[in-house]
């Protein structure tokens, strides 16, 4: 696959609509093609913005009183006595359900942070090694990586940074582990180094500049955030922002780091919606 991918293929890839063979070929291409990766990130962002905006629209009462009775009366049928079945299968896990949004509409977060937050909503088995009882290992070890089973969880670290707050999200995604860095100020330098385990995909939006070398990527951030996809087999990964280490460890046990909250007054926040709420270390 030497030509660039068209946006229909990229959209289908994001939506999980491609046949497995084609999806694998697209994934391989994306790992080597920066323009297509950027295009993919642009489509992903457009879908997130669209979905977030549409979710703000009024959605009507879920079961207006009398609707069924009205229909049955019009067709001359008599209501049965069966209770309503469970709700219909949920829409695509890529898009948050309006019912599952927190009251008050869209989260009040800055652009990329909002995007990243939307991306981790609905993820399954998200975690990090610094969260006791993290489901990440269970997810990585388990044969089923679909978003249909297991506790829902999100993990995020909010790291104090000069000029703003940098959010780090870690989530399983299509058999790999996805790391989103959001809220990075333009011009910030993000550096990645990795060893033993495979290819790392790095995407950044809006004017970012890249320098690459074997086992190393250097990104000067534009107006957007940075997304990193790592295979679950990756043994060692480190991510720095402006010389400060944000994350370190293996894909199976990433450790989110940041300014020491006790010494410098900054905060490290984890938000995990799981049956047993974990506690930050």
């Amino acid at each position: 696959m030497t030509q660039h991918l068209d946006e229909g293929t990229l959209r289908g890839h994001l939506d999980g609509e491609l046949p497995p063979g084609e999806a694998a070929a697209v994934q391989r291409h994306l790992e080597e093609c920066a323009p297509c990766s950027l295009a993919l990130a642009g489509l992903d962002r457009a879908a997130t913005v669209t979905s977030g905006a549409l979710a703000l629209l009024p959605a009507g009462a879920p079961h207006p009183d009398g609707a069924l009775a009205s229909v049955l009366a019009r067709v001359g049928a008599t209501p049965g006595a069966v209770p309503p079945p469970p709700a219909a299968p949920s829409p695509s896990p890529r898009f948050p359900q309006p019912e599952r949004r927190r009251p008050g509409g869209a989260p009040r977060l800055p652009g990329w942070m909002r995007l990243a937050a939307a991306l981790v909503v609905g993820a399954v088995g998200v975690g990090a090694s610094i969260i006791p009882g993290s489901p990440l290992r269970e997810w990585v070890d388990g044969p089923d990586t679909s978003a249909a089973a297991g506790p829902e969880a999100t993990a995020a670290a909010s790291l104090g940074a000069e000029g703003g707050e940098v959010a780090v999200f870690v989530a399983p995604e299509n058999g790999s582990v996805r790391i989103d860095l959001a809220g990075l100020p333009p011009g910030e330098e993000v550096r990645l180094e990795w060893r033993e385990g495979g290819t790392v995909g790095v995407r950044a939006l809006d004017g970012a500049r890249f320098e690459t070398a074997p086992g190393r990527v250097h990104v000067v951030v534009g107006a957007g955030g940075v997304r990193i996809d790592v295979p679950r087999t990756l043994r060692s990964l480190s991510v720095w922002g402006n010389g400060e280490r944000y994350l370190s460890g293996s894909a199976m046990n990433p450790e989110l780091l940041g300014p020491n909250p006790l010494q410098r007054g900054d905060t490290v926040v984890f938000v995990v919606d799981s049956p047993s709420p974990p506690t930050p270390r």
Binding site: T50, A53, G60, P64, A87, P91, F95
Partner: protein
């Protein structure tokens, strides 16, 4: 009884889709119920996913027909003005939220097919199901959806985002 089960499974999603597509809760309720009435009267049967597509297709056509009628009436009023036309008041009733009003306006400015695809995607339709409702080849849905999302995002951000 099967009809009632189908109603409970599909009606909430169909009503939400109709509401967003038509922009009017009363119209949405009428169209969603009318689709079920037609399903019953025509004796349409089959697995739930197929019936769901059928219901969405019928409701979409009903709203399209109604939209044409409304536009014709608006054109007649423009040619023979009776009262000055006013934009909906963003501070009024359900649409007092200005962002909601903007989203609504952008949806109205989009091509009908773009609008339908975006809203069906929100209801979790697969590409094949969306293709059946709008009457295009499944292979073209990815491209159509991507372009619709880009058009929506461009207009939304041009108007100031959320």
């Amino acid at each position: 009884v099967e009809f009632e089960q189908l109603f409970h499974q599909v009606y909430p999603s169909l009503l939400r889709y109709c509401h967003r597509l038509a922009g009017d809760p009363d119209v949405a309720e009428d169209m969603a119920q009318e689709a079920f009435v037609r399903l019953h009267r025509n004796g349409v049967t089959g697995p739930v996913p197929a019936l769901r597509v059928w219901l969405f297709r019928v409701a979409t056509r009903l709203i399209q027909d109604r939209g044409r009628a409304v536009r014709n009436r608006a054109r007649l009023l423009e040619e023979n003005p009776v009262l000055p036309w006013e934009a909906p008041d963003p501070e009024d009733g359900v649409e007092r939220d200005r962002t909601v009003w903007r989203v609504r306006r952008i949806l109205e400015r989009l091509d009908g097919r773009d609008r339908e695809l975006l809203l069906m995607r929100e209801e979790g339709f697969s590409y094949r199901e969306m293709a059946e409702v709008v009457g295009v080849a499944p292979g073209s849905i990815g491209t159509l959806l991507a372009r619709a999302q880009k058009r929506f995002t461009t207009m939304f951000e041009k108007e100031g985002g959320p």
